[in-house]
Amino acid sequence: MTLDLPFAPGPRERPYTVQEVVEGARAVLERVLPPVWVEGEISNFKTYPSGHWYFSLKDPWAQLRCVMFRTDARRVPAQPSDGLKVYARGELSVGTKRGELQLIVRQLLATAEGGFYAVALERARAALEKDGLLDPARKRALPAFPRCVGVVTSPEGAAWNDIVAVARRRWPLVELVLIGARVQGEDAPRELGRALALANRYEGLDVLIVGRGGGSKEDLWAFNDEQVARAVAASRVPTISAVGHEMDVTLTDLVADTRAPTPSAAAEKAVPDRHDVQRQLAALAAHVGAAAGRRVELAGAAQRQTAGRMEIAAGRRVAAVRQVLGEAELLMAAGCASRVAAGRARADRLGAALEALSPLKVLERGFAVARDEAGRVLRRVAEFGPGMPFRLRVADGEVRSRVEAGT
């Protein structure tokens, strides 16, 4: 005997289990529907300790449960938040436990210009700004003559070799210290942060370069990581960022004390050029020589006016100076010719100015020059006749004078 209930299964229909029904529906969906793009707004976003993301996509008329597994979620540069408009690509399926239709999201793009990268960047930038780390007043000057330059980059990358080549050419007096870190990929932000912290614990550095050679936006992304930017900002010594050149500006660039477009350019900013310093030395040599030469001639002139016996001593000194001047000339000759010429011309102008001043300077010190009525300088007693009028030039003017009778 069978019960005559309208909803009971018939004799040849065995009841399906719930699991069979749900999995059957899932199999149909997954077999029939290709992956689709869905446009919607994120709501009820949740992350789980497993790293999976759960959220709904909604529009004014409907909503769709979504799951994004950890391996897919970690490729998204920023965690989305409720209200964000996105394109999600994935496969439709049915969640076994709840029997709910769901989209298994493989790829998520923010619909805002620049996508998730722009979202992540703006979020990190705002956080750094809030803490005052983007304030231009924080920027520190680079040391003029660093003894030791740290470089946070990949030991395998071109950036390190570029920096070594520039330092060797420009300023081999420096010591370069590599602090290795992977600069792209998932581990890059963590490794960069660790390298920056290590650099900060080393006492010897005077300046720190952080960077890598050019690459795609994705390749350079670690330098937009908020924690990397914070580690750069925390450096005890001034920093130079050098991050590729295909992207506008990274957060690391914004936080660093100085920004360079490439690693080579960073090295050029970090160290002086020895040829400039050689030119500077040549100009200094010319200045020292000219100034000392003038000084000696001035003293010689003064001494000649006071007493003839001093002339011998002054002459010896002048000879000594000439000898040293000769050495300065050699030094200058070894430097860059055109700059030496410029330095020498400057020294000559200086010398001419001093020369114009020198007789007055001598008068300032209490010496006087006697001239006859015709303006000839009177040097010897024999040139003064009894009662002869003459003019005495002192520092601030002339005194009309006359030789006493009988001198």
Partner: protein, 78 residues
Amino acid sequence: MSAAPREAASLQADLERLEAIVRALEANDLDLDRALELFEEGVGRLRDARERLGTAELRLRQLREAADGSVRADDLEG
């Protein structure tokens, strides 16, 4: 401390000292003996500085964290 950093530091000191010497000599109120002393010092410093620039060799090192947690800078092949 290695030789190269010391040289860079004294090069900077040399340049600063040379500029001070030029200023003192140009001020023109030194007595002659003092002026000559300064001049000879200046020439000596010029010679030293040039020699430092001419003979320096770039030094490369790599920072590592030792097992005991200390930070070491090991020499690297150039």
